[in-house]
């Protein structure tokens, strides 16, 4: 909830577009981060980690 004591303004369309692009970039970077750790795990521990008994 926005603080009623603090003045707010609406974003311009350019600011909206910039924020959307930044959000997409952050999402892609997070995905790459997860993929990187997945690859790292497979390479370090070997592919048999995928078929180990649970």
């Amino acid at each position: 909830m926005p603080d009623p004591e603090v003045p707010y303004r609406q974003l311009t369309p350019q600011e909206e577009a910039r924020r959307r692009k930044r959000s997409i970039a952050i999402a892609l970077a997070l995905g790459a981060w997860v993929l990187l750790f997945f690859v790292l795990t497979i390479v370090k521990l070997g592919p048999q980690i995928l078929s180990r008994p649970l």
Binding site: P7, R18, A25, K44
Partner: protein, 315 residues
């Protein structure tokens, strides 16, 4: 959907940055992408001259971590130097002085990437390589940017160590240790740095003076700087051939090392002789440009010899 964001009251000066943050390319620019490319290249050469083997995926991830670590230190450098970047034409359009990204955002971005890159390198390769990367980041961001750069004319001499470390990190990734090969490459980049940067500083002396940076031409004078450029080149030319003497540089490297070393000497003498007007500018820019070509050619020769079977030993 309505988007809301904080704003500043009418009696408070507006900040130099936009409250919603910068564009994606601005964040990329904070990482100094051209420096990152150079770091990837020199670290890769450090890897290929090492005795050892690393799985390709680990090698790629390690290079990525080293590049991001270098980018993070560049980001922290831009955060700290935003005030002097603003008064120099070469740097005034960087994201922070241009008002596209706030300094707080840049600080957070740089710190996050620093920690993330060191963590990834430690997990992917080993903790020696990660420790060296952490040292490089701290050395560049704290020792060089926060201290040496504004304190001494030897700023880029000592600070050059940060730029010279990537081959050492590369060797640590592959072999888990630091060997003579990467230390020689470290020495070459270290001695190459002063004549390279001082050539540019000779032309940009007025801007550095305006920004209050004690570069060598501003402190010791242009004449002394020119002499030092020659002395560093005299030392660099034979140093560039040490890989041949130690057996990890072959015939191709030797040829490039001799021709390039003589070129460095010739360009440095040209800088020494041309002291005024357009001739001075041309000589300095020639030295600056050739020094980049020289280092690139030396390292490319090592890469080609070690990776593409072109190695022909001379000793």
């Amino acid at each position: 959907m309505t988007s809301l964001t904080n704003t500043i009251g009418p009696d408070v000066p507006a900040p130099a940055f936009t409250a919603v943050g910068g564009d994606v390319p601005d964040y990329f620019a904070l990482l100094k992408p051209r420096v990152m490319v150079l770091v990837i290249f020199t670290a890769l050469v450090g890897m290929v001259v090492s005795h050892g083997h690393v799985q390709p995926a680990i090698g790629v991830i390690s290079l990525l971590a080293i590049a991001v670590g270098a980018g993070a230190s560049g980001c922290l450098n831009m955060w700290w130097d935003a005030d002097i970047d603003a008064v120099m034409t070469r740097t005034a359009q960087r994201p922070i002085p241009a008002g596209r990204i706030s300094s707080e955002e840049a600080l957070g971005f740089g710190l996050f990437l620093s920690v993330a890159s060191v963590l990834v390198l430690g997990l992917a390769a080993n903790w020696l390589a990660a420790g060296l990367l952490a040292f490089t980041i701290v050395f560049y961001a704290v020792i060089y940017s926060m201290w040496l750069k504004r304190a001494t004319a030897q700023n880029i001499v000592i600070g050059g160590a940060a730029g010279a470390l990537p081959p050492v990190i590369g060797q640590a990734v592959v072999s888990g240790s630091v060997g003579i090969e990467s230390l020689v490459l470290f020495a070459i980049i270290f001695i190459w740095t002063p004549p390279h940067f001082w050539a540019l500083a000779l032309i940009k002396a007025e801007e550095y003076a305006r920004a209050g940076i004690p570069m060598m031409p501003n402190v010791a004078g242009p004449a002394s700087t020119r002499r030092q450029i020659v002395w560093y080149s005299v030392f660099l030319a034979p140093l560039g051939l040490v890989p041949v003497a130690l057996g990890f540089g072959g015939l191709l490297y030797a040829v490039i090392g001799v021709v390039g070393g003589l070129g460095m000497l010739a360009f440095s003498v040209r800088v020494l002789k041309n002291r005024e007007g357009e001739a001075e500018k041309r000589a300095a820019m020639g030295m600056f440009g050739f020094s980049i070509l020289y280092l690139f050619a030396l390292f490319s020769a090592l890469l080609a010899e070690q990776s593409f079977g072109l190695f022909r030993p001379l000793v």
